[in-house]
Amino acid sequence: MDSLHHFLSTLSYVSEGVFLTLEYTLLSLLGGVVLGLCLALMKVGEYTIARRAAQFYTSVFRGTPMLVQLSIIYFGAPSLVSYKISPLMAGVFAFSLNSGAYVSEIIRSGIKTIDQGQFEAAKALGIPYSLMMAHIILPQALRGILPALVNEAINLLKETALISTLGEADIMRRAQLVAAETYSYFEPLMMAAVCYYFLVLLLSGIAKLLEKRLSYDCY
C-alpha cells in the first residue's frame, strides 16, 4: 500500500512537468517555424546576400550542439549585457533559433520539389511573387514536408529536456529530483521516458489528423 502510494505520488510529480515541457516545445516550434520560413524564403530568393546569410546561419546553428547554444544564451550573454534572462525566454529563444535552421532546410527542400511550371504559370498571370509563394507554392510544398516538420517537432520536444540544466522543473528535472531524494534512479527516469513518449504519440496523432485534412482539402 505504501509503495503504491509512493509510486503514484512520484508519477504525479514527474508528469506535472508535462505542461512545462509542452510550453517550451510549442513556443519554440512557433518561433522555429516563423524563423525557418523567413530563412527558407531568403534561400530561394534572388538576393545573393540574403541567400548567403541564411546559408551561413543554418550552417552555424546546425554545426554546434544545442546545449552549447542554450548555455551561451542563458549563462553567457547576460554577463556581456548585464541583464538577467529568464529560463523560459532563454530556452524558447535558443530552441527557436536552433529549430529555425532545421525548419528552413525542410521548407527550402519542399519548395524545390515544386514543378517550375507552377512558378511560370503564376508569373505569366502577373501574380506578384509574395502572393504566388503564399497561396500557390507554399501550400503545395507543405503537403510534402509535413512528415519532416512533425519529425522536427518531435526532436524539439525531446531536446527541451535540456532546460533541466537551467533548473526548470520540466519532466526531466523532476525525475532527477526524485531520484536524488530517494536514491532510486530507475523508477523516476522510466516515468520521465513514458511521459516523453506519451507526448510524442500525442504530437504524431495530431499530425496524422492534420495530414488527412490537408489531403482532403487540397486534392
Partner: protein, 240 residues
C-alpha cells in the same frame, strides 16, 4: 501592335535568338514553325519575359515593355503551356478567379460569373469544383485556356498546347483555340498541327537557328515555292 526589334537571346556563347525583328498586328493568328531547338519557345518566353532577352526590345501598343513594369505586360499577354500548369492546390474555379481577383482586383461576383461563362465556352461547366489531378489532359488544357482568358489578354502565347495530349484530345483543345480566332485576340502559337495552321492561322513565321527564315501569309506559305529548308520541314511535318 506588337513590335519586336532586334531581339537577341544568348545562353553563354549559345545564340538562341539572333536579331529577330517582326511586327504583329491585332487579331492576327500567327503560327510559329521551325524544327526543334530553332528557338520557338524562347521567342515566346522572351515576349512575356519568362526569359530576359539579352538585347532588343518588345513594344506592345506603343509601350516599350522590355524594361518597364513586367506585371503590366503580363496582364496584357497571356500564356498557355504545353503541360498546362494548373495550380494543383486549387480547384478549377479557384484556378480561374484567383489571378483576376488578386491582380486585377475584379470583384468576386464578377469573377465567378466570368469564370462560369468561360467554363461554358470551353465546355467544362460541370468541372467547376474539380481538382486538376482528376481531369484529363484535354480538360486541363481547356481550363488553362479559360484561366488565361479570365485576364482579358490582348495577346495569348501558346507553346505547343496539344503536344502533351493523347491524340483523341487534341481536337477538343484546337476547337477551343479556333473559337478565339476573330474575337480580336492576337494569337501566337507554336504547334506541329499543320492542318490547324492551314485552317486557322493567318500568318506563318518560320524560325531557323533563332532567325526568321520566312514570314508569309498562311496561304503563301503552303502554296508558295518555298525555300528548300522549309519544303524539307513541311515534308517531314506532314509525313508524321
Amino acid at each position: 501592335m506588337i513590335v519586336i526589334k532586334n531581339l537577341n537571346k544568348n545562353y553563354g556563347h549559345h545564340v538562341v535568338l539572333n536579331h529577330l525583328s517582326v511586327e504583329l498586328h491585332k487579331a492576327e493568328i500567327v503560327a510559329i514553325l521551325g524544327s526543334s531547338g530553332s528557338g520557338k519557345s524562347t521567342f515566346l518566353r522572351c515576349i512575356n519575359r519568362l526569359e530576359e532577352p539579352t538585347a532588343g526590345q518588345v513594344w506592345i501598343d506603343g509601350v516599350e515593355v522590355t524594361h518597364s513594369n513586367v506585371q503590366q505586360l503580363r496582364t496584357k499577354v497571356g500564356m498557355v503551356f504545353q503541360n498546362f500548369h494548373l495550380f494543383s492546390n486549387m480547384s478549377v474555379i479557384q484556378n480561374l478567379v484567383y489571378a483576376p481577383q488578386k491582380v486585377k482586383k475584379m470583384p468576386e461576383s464578377q469573377a465567378f460569373e466570368k469564370a462560369q461563362q468561360l467554363l461554358r465556352q470551353v465546355g467544362l461547366e460541370k468541372k467547376i469544383k474539380a481538382y486538376p489531378h482528376t481531369l484529363s489532359g484535354g480538360e486541363k488544357q481547356r481550363i488553362a485556356i479559360a484561366r488565361t482568358l479570365m485576364m482579358d489578354p490582348e495577346v495569348i502565347l501558346f507553346d505547343e498546347p496539344t503536344s502533351a495530349l493523347d491524340p483523341e484530345m487534341v481536337q477538343e483543345v484546337l476547337r477551343v483555340i479556333k473559337g478565339l480566332a476573330s474575337t480580336g485576340i492576337t494569337i501566337l502559337i507554336v504547334t506541329h498541327e499543320m492542318n490547324f495552321v492551314r485552317e486557322v492561322a493567318t500568318r506563318v513565321l518560320f524560325l531557323d537557328h533563332g532567325s526568321i527564315l520566312e514570314d508569309q501569309s498562311t496561304k503563301d506559305f503552303f502554296d508558295g515555292h518555298n525555300k528548300e529548308r522549309i519544303a524539307q520541314f513541311l515534308n517531314q511535318a506532314t509525313s508524321d
